[in-house]
């Protein structure tokens, strides 16, 4: 009808032939479907002028067992829970890409998890427009295990597998390129859902928003009974059950 709208929308006209329940004498009914809905506002498309692609766009294969040079032998070590406890302090921001997966808890990534991430993303990714990057180290921490049916004692068991420790807030994988969040979100969500700890899909903007939100809460919180204050002043007799890391992390990162 209107020229201005027609330039943008193709009016979807089609005739539908129907096996009519109304006419018994063999006549067939025709309906003409004419689209009436239209869009008024179109946001300008995003510009991807500043996107630079790395040499290899897909996620690289990671080693199952770390490389040992010469006569070096792997050492069996303590558990060192501190590796997965508390917040990540270094790898918390996106560097090359725009979107990514961020851990929402501590845990160990085994080689199987890493393969799952790699295959899950590489399979669904459009290589022409996107790229993906690892932000984690390959597995390096040995985990020992005693074989089944062994009695206790007899020293520490043998190294069974290696893991990569992850702390709360660490970026695991980045995705970037000439793509929008809605294109990548499903791919990353399916991967993030299968990780051994809670993880969420983020974009650069959402990460910044989270930081802003935290600062805002710090500034404008009216509630005088913060966890810090409660822990200091033994309110409700909390000293009885309060742990060391509760005091350090103020009730977070449990």
């Amino acid at each position: 009808m209107f020229s201005s709208i027609r330039t943008v929308l193709h009016s979807a006209k089609c005739t539908v032939k129907a096996a009519s329940p109304f006419f018994n004498d063999g006549r067939s009914a025709y309906w003409r479907v004419v689209s009436t809905a239209n869009l008024q506002h179109f946001d300008p498309p995003e510009e991807f002028d500043d996107v630079t692609f790395p040499e290899r766009r897909k996620l690289k294969l990671m080693l199952k067992v770390p490389l040992f040079i010469g006569n070096e032998r792997p050492r069996r070590q303590f558990k060192r829970i501190i590796d997965i406890r508390g917040p990540e302090e270094v790898h918390t921001k996106l560097t090359h890409g725009k979107y990514g997966i961020v851990a929402q808890g501590g845990g160990y990534l085994r080689h199987g998890h890493i393969e799952m991430i790699r295959l899950g993303i590489n399979k669904r990714m459009d290589e022409k427009r996107m790229f993906a990057l690892w932000r984690i180290d390959p597995v390096w921490k040995p985990v020992t295990k005693k074989g089944t049916g062994h009695r206790m004692g007899g020293g520490k068991g043998n190294i069974d597998y290696y893991v990569s420790p992850i702390r709360h807030g660490r970026v695991i994988v980045e995705v970037g390129g000439k793509c929008e969040f809605s294109e990548v979100e499903y791919m990353l969500k399916t991967v993030a859902h299968q990780l051994p700890f809670e993880a969420k899909v983020v974009s650069k903007e959402s990460l910044e928003e989270d930081i802003k939100c935290e600062e805002d809460i710090k500034k404008n919180n009216i509630n005088p009974f913060t966890f810090e204050y409660i822990a200091e002043n033994n309110i409700l007799g909390c000293h009885k059950w309060l742990g060391r890391y509760d005091r350090i992390f103020k009730g977070k990162y449990r």
Binding site: F42, I81, E198, I217, N223, F225, F227, R254
Partner: protein, 255 residues
Amino acid sequence: MAALMKRNLYVTPWAIVRHKVNLKGKPRPTWYERSIVEKISVPLMPRAPVDYANRCGKLNNQRQQLIQDHPYQDFLIRRCKEMFEKNSMVAVFQQLSASRNEQNKNLNKFRKKGFTCHHFNNLVVKRSIADTKWANMAPLFVSSTFFIASEEAKVKDLVQASKKVTDFVLLGAVADDRLFSKQGLMDYAALPDIETKRAELVGILNHAASNTKSLLERHQQTLSTSLGQFIKQNTQSETLNESNQTETKDGGNSS
């Protein structure tokens, strides 16, 4: 006495307790005291003052504020301005509810006579009209409106076609840099051609001249006619006298 005094045995000031480390993905379930503390320590934000006028979703939809510096919006405004500048006649119609098919049928009646049909959002039109010579048209754009335009001001065709269509209501028009109401358009269309109007004018002008001429000549004419009449009467009386005389002569002879 000293034996009666109860004294605690020595207890270490720190209790060395080995907890099993939580290596699972989820944190341990909270116990009662801790859940109370967690509930208490939830951050409270000051309430932002509520803007009740902007809270109503229905009103917000009606307002439909234009997005500033939106390229698509600018494009529409440019097209709207173009329409006004190119066409010497732009009529505004209100569109009543009708099926799309009927609308098209009605519009075809205009298209057959060489009109073009345009549609713009009312806010877009108001924005493109502001600070131009068409600014006085703004009150027309209230409900669902559309435009019918032509490069020449074919008011007669427009009025004829608008009488035939059922679901369109003519609100007003601009023709030859003149703003018309609906009634004004009707009157304008009812006027005859400019050729006949000119001929009429020439007739009126000629009438005045001929009138003055006739007025000036009137006295002479009446005088001449009266003189003529006088001569006529005189000649008649003379002839009558002569004839009487001859009759008397003839009568004398015969007797």
